[in-house]
Amino acid sequence: MNLYRRIFLTSLAVFHSALIVIAAENAGQLHAISLTPATSAEKAPSTDGFIQRWLILDPIRSNTPLTDNAINEAVKKEYFPGQLSLIPRDGDKVKVGETELTWHAVDTRDYNVNLYHFAHSRGAPTSNVLFWAVAIVDCPEELRDVRLAIGSNAASLWWVNGQRVIGIFGDRQTVIDDGVSKRLTLKKGTNVLRCAVFNAGGATDFCARILGADEKPLKNFIVRLNAVADQKP
């Protein structure tokens, strides 16, 4: 192959790839490398206890500094009705200001949930954003003296059944079990885990699991696609 022909074919290939990317971005179809749509009714935690199914709302623009006081103040604002109480279903929509955002049920292949993949695959911003995410955890029995253990990039606040249990702040990376709640009780049946993750710039993700009284991860629960009352017969 002569040099000119090689340059021509290479250029053609690059141009073709660029066209595909542009088309995909326009359609919001970039592949979310680590995430897949959640379809099954329930999903067990990973072998290390990580919750791998989440309902995530399209990101909300937020320039909130990642400091304690700013984050604590930011979540007092109502971005959408029921932000601390609703249990979303895949495809539900909420209105934030004039913008309609959608809840997406996703499964992650990894211990963490890559919010950069999530947002980027939808052509949504990944910097200066706020993510809301919910997990519907179904326990076969009451679990006492357990702890929610999370990591996030960057600052995040966490609620279990409406009770705030963790806040970690600053421009930090996701570290497994970085923030750990005080001892809490998960009731038999449906428990709602909720988080708000604030990102300034760059990568953004989170991970979460539940630790037993011995600080070992629990795996005797399932994560549902929908709350039990919503299950189709």
């Binding site: 400091t67 304690d68 253990a149 570290v175 923030g179 005080k182 001892r183």
Partner: protein, 491 residues
């Protein structure tokens, strides 16, 4: 005058705790726990008793009032070995007495005679005084070392059932020379002979210091860290005089379990008590196979750093950078030429004001919540919410070697407290409640275990515990884990 004041303040700023109450004693035995009380016995029938190992009072004299007794609990008996001169030195013998209790109010309290277990005839190279007993944790054999400056430190085997000499025809084994007040301990496959060198009984002129050697067999040879045999005068220094406590001697092991070991000794002269000979209890540490004499905690300001995470205990409040937030504006190229209005050394040149003073907690705390504040762990950045004053609480009791302590944010009265759900909180002001009193024991690796005196509605003792990377709680102490181990870094 000014210099005196500064000296006094410096002295108070790093004050170490000394035991409380009546602690005057000479040649104390190993401290032994019996029915929840600590006991030690000294020369001349003196004895001290304590409910908590911190505050001591005079106890009952045993039936024999000899010299430098040692005490050991074996089975259901407390064996006491007491020496006496039976003529001109070095003619002496060591007698056994035993009781099933050390509490004079117990029906089991009765000292029985057990006879002579070792002696010196005045001509041989030994002075049979200063006994020290060891119950070998490996095989349950009972041993006694004894001796003073007339010749050798010797070893004989005792009957662990009776406390008496196992075989009177066995020849004692010579272990060391030129020392006295010896005792054996065992640790991870080694036997350690701790013996006191130097002179006693001269107050602040005394030269007592505790030295040691180790051996794989109880019969020796006991070599110091340079390889010199103690039978040739060797001995590595274990504990010498400190600034206020002169001439330690008569080592005794106090193993509190869960990896917490302490040792007792007496000082020939406690300068803070008029030069009296007094009892002390200090942490026992281990490093590279050798014991180290630790020091009880000194009052002061500390960073409390988790040995597990390397992060520091702090109030869960928004920190303020020391010196204030850094200006975002900087010259192009980070540290090249100066920008107008920028720091003189460029972006990385620091402030033109020079040294940045420590944070004033009264200023940075104005925006902190006035009520209870949670705790967490974070990277130490020298900020006010990360510095803790640890100080003694008077009349609140204590534990072996120390009074109970309060832990407050340095410069404030905001106190660390245990909650009824086994978690932590900082209260706006120290109340003196048991949930705000802390026991801080140095562990054998030099880290510290931090425990509240009481957890509300709980009988289980709990310890400060790092959980995850940034969180802190209280949980049952696990000596095998680093999650309950803390570094106290002086500020």
């Amino acid at each position: 005058m000014k210099r005196s004041l500064i000296a006094a303040l410096l002295f108070l700023a790093c004050r170490a705790f000394a035991l409380d109450g009546q602690i005057q004693i000479h040649d104390p035995s190993t401290v032994v726990l019996c029915d929840g009380q600590f006991y030690t016995y000294g020369t001349g029938g003196s004895s001290l008793v304590s409910e908590d190992g911190w505050a001591w009072s005079r106890g009952a004299a045993p039936s024999r009032r000899g010299m430098a007794p040692d005490l050991i609990h074996v089975g259901d008996r407390y064996f006491m070995y007491v020496a006496r001169n039976v003529g001109a030195q070095p003619r002496a013998d060591i007698n056994l007495i035993w009781s099933k209790s050390l509490d004079p109010n117990s029906p089991d309290y009765k000292w029985e005679e057990g006879g002579v277990v070792a002696s010196s005839d005045g001509a041989e190279d030994c002075n049979a005084i200063d006994p020290g007993a060891l119950l070998d944790p490996n095989d349950g054999r009972l041993w006694l070392v004894y001796g003073s400056y007339f010749g050798y430190i010797r070893l004989v085997e005792l009957n662990p059932r009776t406390g008496q000499r196992l075989n009177v025809n066995d020849t004692p084994v010579d272990l060391a020379i030129n020392c006295e007040a010896s005792i054996l301990i065992h640790h991870e496959g080694w036997y350690y002979l701790l013996a006191t060198h130097g002179s006693c009984c001269r107050g602040a002129e005394s030269g007592y210091n505790i030295r040691m050697g180790r051996a794989r067999k109880v019969t020796g040879p006991y070599l110091d860290h340079t390889g010199l045999d103690m039978i040739m005068g060797g001995g590595s220094l274990f504990a010498g005089s400190t600034s206020r406590h002169i001439a330690p001697g008569h080592f005794g092991l106090l193993d509190l379990g869960d990896g917490v070991q302490k040792f007792s000794c007496h000082y020939e002269a406690d300068l803070d008590r008029g030069g009296a000979s007094v009892l002390d209890i200090r942490p026992l540490l281990w490093k590279d196979g050798w014991p180290i004499a630790g020091d009880n905690l000194k009052e002061g300001a500390f960073e409390i750093e988790s040995a597990r995470t390397g992060t520091a205990l702090e109030l869960a409040v928004e920190g303020v950078p020391v010196g204030g937030p850094r200006p975002r504006r900087g010259p192009p190229g980070f540290g090249g030429t100066n920008a107008p209005g920028g720091p003189p050394g460029g972006f990385f040149g620091g402030s033109s004001r020079g040294a940045i003073p420590p944070q004033d907690v009264t200023q940075v705390s104005t925006n902190w919540p006035k009520e209870n504040i949670d705790l967490r762990l974070a990277n130490f950045l020298d900020q006010a919410q990360q510095k803790w004053t640890i100080s003694a609480v008077t009349n609140a009791g204590g534990y072996p070697g120390s009074p109970y302590l309060k832990i407050t944010v340095a410069g404030l009265d905001r106190a660390l407290a245990a909650t009824e759900d086994g978690e932590l909180v900082s209260t706006p002001a120290f109340s003196g409640g048991p949930e705000e009193l802390w026991r801080i024991d140095q562990l054998t690796d030099g880290t510290w275990r931090i425990m509240p005196k009481a957890v509300p509605n709980s009988k289980e003792p709990l310890a400060l515990c790092a959980v995850g990377g940034s969180s802190v709680t209280l949980s049952k102490f696990d000596p095998a884990s680093d999650k309950h181990r803390w570094h106290l870094k002086t500020q």
